[in-house]
């Protein structure tokens, strides 16, 4: 055999050996796609109507529904507590609205707080592993698989919306756990605007729970859709946001 012929055959053989797995991989039709029922939005947002919320003192419907469904542990030690949705005194949520003349009753008004799903989230900027990132539709997400527990995001968030699992959360989960994955010791968690529910065509659980008790203080929808209830409230011009001067552009709005 001439050397040229040998090289030709060897080259073809090598191409075949390399090409078979490539062709096999390309031939497989396997892939992933979005669920057809998923809710799609240009920019998800929430309006918290504080005036309606205050008509039901002591109501915990949204908090209980969220924490139950997402297996948020009820840790006893307040230094280690984990929260997705909770109520905070008005003076702490909107410190700029408090003057020396604000009565204590107003300062102490319980105000519902959660992750603000900012346009410009500092938590995302400081996360070294992109375990937290912002989706194009505005949701600030958590990928617990990637979280290394550095807590930069906790330091970065100006709203205290994030919690760290200082201990194994499972023993502190009240009642029978749901199918939602729990977290482990050493990761950060927070509200995700119920991304798992939007993916199957349902609205966030806190909103449904609030409607369920006949209050309707929480309005969720697409701020980018002029026909949505949220967009109408935002156009009304009475909404306010937490710490607007920081430039984070929160997308949880308040009617105080």
């Amino acid at each position: 055999m001439r050397r040229r012929r040998f090289l030709e055959i060897a080259g073809l053989g090598l191409a075949g050996v390399c090409g078979v797995p490539v062709a096999r991989a390309l031939a497989g039709a396997a892939g992933t796609e979005p669920a057809p029922a998923a809710l799609r939005g240009k920019r998800w947002a929430m309006v918290v109507d504080q005036r309606k919320c205050l008509t039901r003192p002591g109501c915990q419907a949204c908090i209980q529904a969220c924490h139950r469904a997402h297996n948020v542990p009820a840790v006893k030690d307040p230094r280690h507590e984990v929260k997705w949705v909770w109520k905070e005194q008005l003076a702490r949520v909107f410190p700029d609205r408090v003057t020396p003349y604000t009565p204590a009753a107003v300062k102490e008004r319980p105000t519902m707080v959660l992750c603000n799903h900012c346009d410009n989230p500092p938590c995302v900027r400081v996360c070294p592993t992109q375990a937290t990132w912002r989706r194009p539709d505005g949701l600030v997400m958590m990928d617990e698989h990637r979280c290394i527990g550095c807590r930069y995001c906790i330091a970065g968030c100006p709203y205290g919306a994030r919690s760290f699992n200082f201990e194994d959360p499972r023993p502190s989960i009240a009642g029978e756990p749901t199918d939602y994955p729990t977290r482990t010791r050493g990761v950060v968690e927070k509200c995700t605007f119920c991304s798992e529910r939007l993916a199957v065509g349902q609205r966030p659980l806190c909103v449904e729970a609030c409607e369920g008790v006949g209050c309707g203080a929480l309005v969720f929808g697409d701020a980018g859709d002029p026909g949505s209830a949220v967009a109408a409230l935002l156009r009304g011009g009475e909404v306010t946001r937490r710490k607007p001067g920081l430039g984070t552009s929160p997308h949880v709005f308040y009617l105080l």
Binding site: T32, M141, D143, E144, D179, P181
Partner: protein, 127 residues
């Protein structure tokens, strides 16, 4: 060669020591492949069994990235069927007791599974 006998003896002792645990395991019957609990309802897996056995970890990694990071929750299998991307829903829907399926092979191969640190593995019954 000087001291060939000693060298060979040493090599033999070394090989014996290194492979000792394996011989011990074989002698105790621990080398037998693990017995896996098959799904009660029969049926077929979402992909061919051999492919799943070899590459389920790649599939699950892809599922994780699709569902968590790209918001894609439907898996289009190579045979054209569609499945929900869900470890606890789709996989554990048939393999109801991972302790008698996943964990047995993983214990055999000494590969740690940490899925269950977060994902719930309550034994579930089919409707």
């Amino acid at each position: 060669m000087h001291d060939a006998g000693k060298v060979l003896l040493g090599l033999g002792a070394f090989a014996g020591l290194v492979t000792g645990p394996a011989w011990y395991a074989f002698a105790r019957g621990k080398g037998d492949p693990p017995e896996l609990q098959r799904p009660a309802g029969g049926g077929t897996c979402i992909e061919p069994t051999g492919w799943i056995r070899a590459r389920h970890m790649e599939l699950l990694d892809g599922w994780r990235d699709a569902a968590v990071r790209r918001d894609e929750h439907v898996y289009l299998a190579s045979d054209g069927r569609r499945h929900a991307i869900s470890l606890t829903g789709t996989c554990l829907g048939c393999h109801v007791e991972p302790a008698k399926f996943c964990d047995r092979c993983h214990a055999y191969a000494a590969v740690e599974v940490f899925c269950w640190d977060c994902h719930q593995q309550r034994k579930r019954s089919r409707p």
